[in-house]
């Protein structure tokens, strides 16, 4: 069972709810994924289309809503969004996302750390989204983050786990759960993230824009289980084989 802060989760697949073609598809995809925590964003109500409301289809009792601060370009905006989210009744959980560059949507490390420090002091349970920077991950843990969420690849690129090497370092050093978030384009990517020891993954685009999002969601769920099972059964990692060219170390100098 996965434990983050004071909650336990049976499913290690978290779902993002953006970019779905319809609320109904979203609802079915979440059900097919088995996910217990979904991310949501905060936006201005469209006064011309007031009925467009995700809350109509999703049951707050069934899933833990993890509001994100997408749109925030600095710590100040992120903190404001966080407080709005809390006022909206989502509790203290927060996915901190500070992405000043709209082209790449890559997270700003400095603003993320600043915001984390402030939000932790204010009682939030902060899950920061970051580039796969091991030192940044450590600094955020020191600041009280409840988990760290390093990206596999930039949001929406579906490139898979291109940050594998750094993510492995993060996992090795982590004192909190590690959730690989963004860029996972196929179930095999999710399985790989789990095999190397990630505690969970967050998937959005790969499911929402798939031909059959509901089926894809189910496939991801299976992949996450497979990867985790492999990890728990002690999957041996391939060693980067030492070069055969070094001269052999004669040990005959050792006294018997």
């Amino acid at each position: 069972m996965l434990k983050i802060a004071d909650r336990t989760f049976r499913s290690r697949l978290f779902l993002g709810t953006g970019k779905f073609s319809s609320a109904e598809t979203l609802k079915q995809a979440i059900e097919a994924s088995g996910s217990e925590m979904i991310t949501v964003a905060l936006r201005r109500v469209d006064l011309n289309d007031p009925a467009d409301d995700i809350m109509n289809v999703l049951d707050r009792e069934q899933y833990l809503f993890l509001p994100n601060t997408s749109g925030a370009r600095d710590a100040k905006e992120a903190v404001r969004l966080a407080r709005l989210a809390r006022a909206a009744g989502s509790g203290d959980w927060l996915k901190l996302e500070v992405t000043p560059d709209p082209r790449t949507l890559l997270p700003d490390p400095i603003e993320t750390l600043k915001a984390t420090e402030e939000l932790v002091k204010d009682g939030f349970i902060v899950l920061p989204y970051i580039n796969a920077d091991p030192v940044l991950a450590l600094r955020l843990q020191d600041a009280g983050a409840a988990a760290v969420m390093p990206l596999g690849a930039p949001i929406g690129t579906n490139l898979g786990l291109i940050t594998k090497f750094q993510v492995e370092i993060i996992i090795d050093q982590a004192r909190v759960p590690v959730v690989v978030d963004a860029g996972l384009g196929a179930p095999s990517d999710a399985a790989l993230a789990m095999e190397i020891g990630a505690d969970a993954v967050l998937v959005n685009t790969a499911i929402s824009v798939a031909g059959d999002p509901v089926k894809m969601a189910a496939a991801f769920a299976q992949a996450v289980e497979a990867g985790r099972g492999a990890y728990e059964s002690g999957l041996g990692k391939k060693s980067s084989e030492a070069s055969a060219s070094s001269p052999l170390t004669g040990l005959d100098f050792i006294k018997t």
């Binding site: 993002g16 979203l26 964003a41 109500v45 009925a51 407080r83 909206a88 963004a182």
Partner: protein, 66 residues
């Protein structure tokens, strides 16, 4: 009197409470977060807060996101 809501100017009668403004816009008060003049309004204040001329209102809610 005039207030601004989500960047748009709205004409409203005086003595309008926040909750009635929200419901008049066909929104469910339970699913909407309100910021008035940069201050987050608590849920239990919705029916007591009376809007004044020139208020800048932001109505925000959860939407799909990653």
């Amino acid at each position: 009197m005039k207030i601004t809501c989500n960047g748009e100017t709205k004409e409203i009668p005086s003595n309008t409470t926040l909750v009635s403004f929200i419901t008049d816009m066909n929104l469910n008060p339970d699913t909407v977060v309100a910021e008035c003049d940069s201050r987050i309004i608590k849920r239990d204040e919705y029916d007591t807060l009376i809007l004044s001329d020139g208020n800048v209102l932001e109505l925000i809610r959860f939407v799909g996101g990653g």
